[in-house]
């Protein structure tokens, strides 16, 4: 039994890496994840990653922000202390629009970004779970869970054929841990 935990295929070109994914999938090798230095368009459908629902979250946060400030202003200027400004109505909706707009944007931005950080487990101080240090530089890395995926030589050969510039058999999942 080998001590390999993860097999990494390192590519130096995103298109070659995409062919590599195809090849692995044709051979029924499950892919754990792919790490790239830049977003690769079309990769999520290949790997079966569902479209992000962050847009819905953003919309809801926007609604919340707009409603919050509009209700507050209504309470301040209409309900709690209506002021007589030249006999004009206290419920002056056009004047409420700028702040309502600003808080809609504010809540959307913060709500959505915090949701994104939460869902993706990003926060200051989180230990980076890096499988290969060059994945944020110039390598496009396909990671394959070694457990159950045997024989490892076959996977190595598939990756080699697909054009990987380097293949690693890592004993540890994350090289970034001390």
């Amino acid at each position: 039994m080998s001590s390999t935990k993860f097999i990494l295929g390192l590519f130096d070109d995103p298109d070659v890496m995409m062919h590599g994914i195809d090849k692995l999938q044709k051979n029924s090798v499950p892919i754990y994840d792919v790490y790239t230095p830049m977003p690769i368009h079309g990769i999520e459908s290949k790997l079966g990653v569902k479209p992000s629902r962050l847009g819905y979250a953003a919309f809801m946060f926007g609604c919340l922000g707009g409603t919050t400030i509009f209700s507050l202003v209504y309470y301040f200027l209409v309900h709690d202390w209506p002021m007589n400004i030249g006999g004009k109505p206290a419920f002056a909706v056009p004047d409420f629009i700028p702040v309502t707009f600003e808080w809609t944007v504010l809540f959307t931005a913060f709500g959505m970004t915090i949701t994104f950080f939460f869902a993706t487990h990003l926060f200051p101080g989180r230990a980076p779970r890096v499988m290969d240090f060059r994945a944020t530089d110039d390598r496009f890395v396909i990671a394959i869970d070694a457990k159950g995926n045997i024989p490892h030589e076959d996977i190595t050969n598939i990756l080699k054929e697909a054009g990987a510039v380097e293949i690693k058999h890592n004993d540890r999942k994350y090289v970034s841990y001390e």
């Binding site: 790490y35 977003p39 700028p98």
Partner: protein, 490 residues
Amino acid sequence: MASHNESIIREPLITGNDITYAKITNDVLKPVENMPTKAWWIGFAVASLAACLWVFAVSWTFWYGIGSWGLNKTVGWAWDITGFVWWVGIGHAGTLISAILLLFRQNWRNSINRSAEAMTIFAVICAATYIVAHMGRPWMAVYSLPFPNQYGSLWVNFNSPLIWDVFAISTYFSVSLVFWYTGLLPDMASIRDRATGIRRRIYSVLSFGWTGSVKTWQRFETVSLILAGISTPLVLSVHTIVSMDFATSLEPGWHTTIFPPYFVAGAIFSGFAMVQTLLLVLRKVLGLENYITMFHIESMNKIILVTGSIVGVAYLTEFFIAYYSGGEYEQYTFLNRFVGPYWWAGCMMYGCNVLMTQMMWFKKVRTNIPVSWVLSIVVNIGMWFERFVIIVVSLHRDFIPSSWAMFYPTWVDMSIFIGSIGVFFTLFLLFIRVAPSIAMAEVKLLLKSSSEQAKKKLIEGGHVDESHAEFYKESLTKFDSVELSQYEKA
């Protein structure tokens, strides 16, 4: 697919023959991973000295009060609000570049957005310090927020544009910060993975544990797109609201319905000028000529030309409406800009903003780096005078001639202004030392489609229409970072 061949007639966004993904990382991170150069130290020394002057002058203001400024009963707003509007205006280009150009799929934004966004944030910080300083008693800032209090509660007046401004500027600052920092995460991770020891620890915290997995990138792109979508109306709303500080008053020269679009165009105009001022120096000093190319410089000059012309049309409209309104006070105010005691300020405003930028119609001017740099400074000066003319020149001669007055700045006024420029440059210089000044991940996206080497391969492959290839080679002649000789023999 990750990449496809772009039309050959489009100019390249990355020049050079040996650009690889690794080289992009190395080039961009050179100033971050090495000790600063002499030029950086000189710049930083000058900027931080000016920043110290700012600290001193603002402390003086808080100790002795607003009376240490040159304000008087007639001119109650002068260099403070001029400086505020000037900085907010400058702060508009970053979000324009990162949001509006993203929505319009303008890929050339990729190599300038990061530093432009940083510039936005620092400019808005400078603007905010003006607001706090002009209160004289900065602890009174709390009264601009609707907190329950013992007076009733007496709430803030949401009918007032000044309160809208509090909400607009604070929202703009915090949303820009979120947009900028979220975009920085992948690049911070690049620094982290190349660093060792304490540096790795620091960038580990700063990068939030970014790994670049498929799901992270996919959500990251969704977040970027939605942030761009909401930042676009936001950036327009901010200067609209700033203009309403003036436009909703009854002051001749301020009471103008054209102010919102006029201020927004002016803001983008001055913001791009400041981006140009900084990037022309940055690309030279940091050796980023291959990423911030002549195409970028010319594109920015074109935007400066367009927005400058919009501002010019707005100026003409203002004059026409003053004439057409038949209001004698309105007419006097506009005439006074040329024949009054502040005629020189009016000349600086119209001359710098309208006449000088019209030179950008000539390609020779747009693609000449020293001339572009000087013109960008001219625009910055002109836009400062625009705010000075709108604020001080409109105020100094009001309805009662007996209260007419002039404004004379004191050393405190001047020190705060010079100092705020120092604060801005101190922050910017620190930024280029600790974070990548170019969005590496976004530039890497362009390497296979829009780079010079990719296009050269297309031509050499022979699948390109001969006339298109000639057109492309012709367009390369303006680039200062392209080796033209290699195209002649081909």
